[in-house]
Amino acid sequence: MSIFQELTNRDRVFEFLTPAASPVDVRHGPILYLEDVNVSFDGFKAINNLNLTIDDGELRCIIGPNGAGKTTMMDIITGKTRPDTGSVWFGSRHNLLTMNEPDIATLGIGRKFQKPTVFEALTVFENLELAMATDKRILPTLTARLTGEHRDRIEEVLHLIGLAELRYREAGILSHGQKQWLEIGMLLMQKPRLLLVDEPVAGMTEQEMERTAELLTSLAGKQSVVVVEHDMGFVRSIARKVTVLHQGSVLAEGTMDQVSNDPKVIEVYLGEGA
């Protein structure tokens, strides 16, 4: 069977933490590499000569005022939007601009949306099941059976995201926070090499936030994580390196302290705030 199943046959605790065996080649340098990317929606420049490099295993936070182009950037990486110019590389082998969303996803880039989107008509369990990294072509999907291993992995994640009790309830009835968690769970089931997380803690309680922070930090190292977040507190709690986007291009980059003292950044944020 497919390489994924093989891996899953090995029985482990926190098995989802092992990096997916994606063919991505990171021997020389970064896992994600954006160069001179430009996108404009009828006239309005959403992304403007954006250059960004994410190293393998890095946890990167991206902040920036509304309309800075954060979400658009994610759209580009995941193949939803095609840039006008520029190049986007996943590792040194895969040119993402030549691929469509499913291929990119199978390649090992997972994404969590700003507005939590889960399959409301399906149960929590089924949501995770669908996300699970398996052969996702038609016939294998049709004939797919739920093995014990699969079940265990789903159970693990269920407990991790604290939805074990609700596993057979339809996702539609979950609270906003729970949906956030479920989506993160789905992300984990995909076992991606690179996680793009868009505002993970919106609508979460303090404790939930902390748990999210733990989770994300624990993921970093094995997987690369890019977090877009408005909540500065949260960012500070997890951030090692922070990138500030403004008007579609990088305004500043560095540790939280560096950027938060950067006059340009302050100016922008005050400008925004005022």
């Binding site: 469509n100 399959f119 369990f125 669908l130 996702k136 739920l146 079940r151």
Partner: protein
Amino acid sequence: MVASTLNTSKPWLLRPFNERSTQLFLGILFGAVALVTLLHLVFPEGHALHVSAYTVTLLGKYLCYALLAVAVDLVWGFLGILSLGHGAFFALGGYAMGMYLMRQIGDRGVYGDPVLPDFMVFLNWQELPWFWHGFDMAWFAFAMVLLAPGLLALVFGFLAFRSRVTGVYLSIITQALTFALMLAFFRNEMGFGGNNGLTDFKDILGFDLRSDATRLGLFIATGIALAIGYVICRGIVLSKLGRVSVACRDAEARTRFIGYRVDRVQLFVFVVSAMLAGVAGALYVPQVGIINPSEFSPLFSIEVVVWVALGGRATLYGAVIGALLVNYAKTVFTGVMPDAWLFALGGLFVLVTVLLPKGIAGLLQRRKKAEDSDNVAGQEVTA
């Protein structure tokens, strides 16, 4: 949905059999078919309990419609694709069968031409058009019953889904498709008998279409076809692919981002559904004795959708209820109140859509939910 987690260790096609609603459906379907057969055979003509050949054929026709409705529900209910052109697949299947039956007439046509069907003789065609060859062989014709609609669905679906045509736009071009086909088949140059279509069939597989026995046979065959079709659809729905379909229906983008080729999923299910519709058409033709372009009419396709909505979308058995109910109503009304039956039918559509948004099956939903949660409870213990 929930019940699907119970038996996902079984092969997909066997799963429906563990499901209560399917068991019930099959039980009642076979029960009814057997009952009708019995009443038809056991009791003599004129006996109060005798089921006449007329009724048998009528019920057979209903079952064909039911199968068509199931096919539509598969794509609409679970994939979110509202096809206003499923009549096209139904009719194509019908024509494939019709062509076979025409060839079976042989030289018993009014002109006694051994090869050419009557309508070709009197519009003096010289020889058989190429696409009519092979239909004298049953296996070929029956293969075509599946392939013709399947192929059309494949090509059409491939184009449409690849370029992500969705929603109303998809519905309208499916309508355009069936409308175009209707006009095409009306043209006598096409060689499908134009408006008169294909008719005056004599026998099928050597059995005389006029004998009650053949009628009964066709009726039973239709019953079995419906059962198989239902199980296949149910199997798909309960399989992981079925859940992916629902995912496509509710959040297409999200499904892509977790790595599924939405367009392929849609294409696969669409083609399967089209083939089922084809089979329904093929069984329909020998029982009503005629196939003509009016089956391609967009209004017919819309009506099928109405059956499904009426019975209850995304339940499959709802589609069956809807089809049977509406058509039975039609038969009764057109006889009892010829001048006013359209009021009744139209009123029925309006009332059900407004008052029963989930259709008739919706009435059963709450009850069903309860059952399911019991199952879940029981299942959690065993897990």
